[in-house]
Symmetry: C2
Subunit: 547 residues, 2 copies
Amino acid sequence: MEEGLVVCRANHVPLTPLSFLERAAFVYPKRIALIHGNISYSWQELHGRCLNLASALSQLGVSPGHIVAAVVPNVPALYELHFSVPMAGAVLSALNTQLDASTLAQILQQLEAKVIFVYSDFIELVLQALIILQEKDEPYLVVLIHDSTNNVKEPPASSATPKILDYQTLLEMGQPNFKIVYPKNEFDPISINFTSGSTGKPKGVVYSHRAAYLNAIADIFRYEMWKSPVFLWTVDMFRCNGWCLPWTVAALGGSNICLREINGKEILESIYLHNVTHFCGAPMILTKIADAIGTNQPLLPHEVSVTVAGVLPPPEILTKLEELGFNINNAYGMSEALGPVISMPRKFQDNSDEEANVKIREGIHNIMMEEVDVKDPESMKSVPADGKTTGEIMFRGNAMMLGYLKDPSRTEEAFEGGWYRTKDLGIKYPDGYIKLKDRAIDIIKSGGKIISTLEIEGVLIRHPMVLEAAVVARPDDVLGETPCAFVKLKQGCFATDEEIIKFCEDWLQDYMVPQAVIFGDLPLNSSGKIQKFILRDKAKELKCLPL
Amino acid sequence: MEEGLVVCRANHVPLTPLSFLERAAFVYPKRIALIHGNISYSWQELHGRCLNLASALSQLGVSPGHIVAAVVPNVPALYELHFSVPMAGAVLSALNTQLDASTLAQILQQLEAKVIFVYSDFIELVLQALIILQEKDEPYLVVLIHDSTNNVKEPPASSATPKILDYQTLLEMGQPNFKIVYPKNEFDPISINFTSGSTGKPKGVVYSHRAAYLNAIADIFRYEMWKSPVFLWTVDMFRCNGWCLPWTVAALGGSNICLREINGKEILESIYLHNVTHFCGAPMILTKIADAIGTNQPLLPHEVSVTVAGVLPPPEILTKLEELGFNINNAYGMSEALGPVISMPRKFQDNSDEEANVKIREGIHNIMMEEVDVKDPESMKSVPADGKTTGEIMFRGNAMMLGYLKDPSRTEEAFEGGWYRTKDLGIKYPDGYIKLKDRAIDIIKSGGKIISTLEIEGVLIRHPMVLEAAVVARPDDVLGETPCAFVKLKQGCFATDEEIIKFCEDWLQDYMVPQAVIFGDLPLNSSGKIQKFILRDKAKELKCLPL
């Protein structure tokens, strides 16, 4: 540093999303921060609750660097934990509520969390997990959250194992004048999010205060979530910390709307009732909403922006939603990059016939993700921007994890060469935009050829009878693998496998045409993502299926 | 850092506003970036020009850490220098075009800049300064910028001293495939802005890439400058780097409108012509616009946001502008904090009779300025939030200078105790909002009492005949100092000193009433700020003025 220049406490404050809540409580004290059923908190009230909770956590011995786990759906308490846990200097790990007890036990062991916040619906699951863990030292402290908009569900009487405290009791223990434990370094961890674990042991992805702060700001650009948004919580807060949106909404002094149940009817009703401006999630929410649209459904009071990550449902569903006033955006990202990295209005994706089967042609990259590229994973050279050459999609930027918890070798592998390696395959167009060809794990290798399952799905979904489609590899003695299609038909529709295969033949090159079609419901995870690993198992079993 | 967590090239990219231009060129290649007269560049074109210029600077030997000076008004070249100089790894120092040759010489000596960009109107000034400098070693390189919207003005033939190169020639020297020299550390300097120097030697205030980046983002919140703004350049880019707005507009992919001349007529015409959404500057621009409003002036096509830093003109001028569609905001800040720190819509300032003389009651603090407080400068304790107790306004946050160039003792003094000390006096209200009482240097000490000149000016400006007013201390043998008012009357208006004093007596306590009133034009600096140091000198001379 040159003469006269310094970096000190006056001109360097570690970046942390905690600043956003402080500011919201100061600048917008009376504005509605959060609504859930009949409950409504202003920013001042919410700030007070978070301070109380942080104070109570400190009293319980939660200290800087400790991990606090949560098995909680999108209720206000989980929103509050996004601030109060880091306010106590601790690290929040919000866990998927759909985990089975043994996976949950495995994760809890990895976390070494001593405090677990549990929503009443999941108390039995957590107690089962704790029994599996059979931890002997200090007992776990479980904080039980009752949904105040529903009937109270008491924990089972048999739950003698851990110490159980009530969320409300904890809140009342706290002191409102608690002094926030700000991070000493902006690279200190703020949260841990687990990947789905469908490809092995769940990985704990660690976010820093800095990354969370910058990605929360990037969300403003990404979702065009400008002044005072009214945000509807359809994306799980336990997924990438709800794409960092709990922090974004606080930065903007917007309002959060939590739902009792995430179904099409509730979503639609909330939009009209609360003047919702934005919501996000898995593509399935679009289908749910479309199903709930009535015959004389009134137009939305204003354009409502919805961003979904994953393969879009059939065009007629999208059109139905757009006609009502929804602005549909499609995003691509991953836990490691704090959620969506690049996104695009769906209208921009579909603007030429040539690209009729383009599913995700993303491009408006995150303002905090400095570089997005498609590279040869060996040479690390960019692929030619020719719209043909396949490479691995890679990123580098500040909206990026610190690494995998207690897994240095996987962290090193992920960041090898100074770029985050997505393992996803893509191509690059002359204008610099990239197209996701497929997730590396989903790729089908057939007779020496590489087949993108996304491309086949893009054709299937255009068949007039098809509602949802997924393609996976089926082992084949001759070709190695062949495409196997799983298809869910629209209600009241019928189709045969020959018809579906014929349709594919009209649109795809021969080697890409599915060799088998299986009809039925597709297995979805809690965020509506199709669980391809289940389908792959099924396809293996069906190896002998007659063509 | 815990096991498995790393900070590396993949997840840590030094924050720099250069990223904004890269992204704008990628995401909005064809969108208009900048308009000046008949010239118009898209983001792609502007990006290309900046790359060329950075490349040419490198060829000239400009290297990381070097300082490049500019004596240039708000023409496209100065916008380009905000990107191209740091792209070459160098530090931009945009200097006030209103400086006299000897002050300019003093600053150039301090900077040790070897390249100076000069607008043709100021070439004689710069050559004079260089003669004063009489530098002997390497000659300066002067890059001459001609206003392409005007007639070319050649440099005087006598200018043999420095090497002179043409801006256009330099651009053509550059290579468009230049590899940007990104900062190694986000705390590396990006620019140096000089304070007015009215209180002594001009101070070079150094900004880091990080502070510039974060403050450019904060500008989005501060000016509610959301999606695709059309920004009119009325604030000087050589003042706090135009409040960091060159970088903000790039971050948003907005459009910049440069004016040939900053007068009311040009401003109004540009607003209608280009659909301007935002502009900023000194309060005098409001008066200039009000004067230019015609009798049948059409309403603005949409609300236009204007933010001014300093004392607002009389209410009828504000009302006239608001009726046309302007949304007027008032801000308070300083060079050290990269421009405005806190700002507020003027409507919020004036909402009670009690506070009729409140001039700046600011509060919506910068999202990047973590703490804003009024403290006792000795004990560093916050003053009671009672709306009465005076203390020093202090800040700490990321939108803050690195320090004063080559002046460690002043830097240390400014950041003493871990806060930036503004030297401005303020009070704090129970709701946490602060009110600026006065700049410390302007305070009048009269008979053991402290008088705020802002409060007296707040009364004077409400007199129906008064257009502008400034109050300074006049030496007094008995009381030490007494208030002395300088008043500019509205056109066609007449008033006597007795009338003005009588009016003040109706509104102010006795000891605050000006003891002398002087009529005439007030001396303004180039940004429209009243030059109180000139008035103080005049007041001293007038010590014997009869009361």
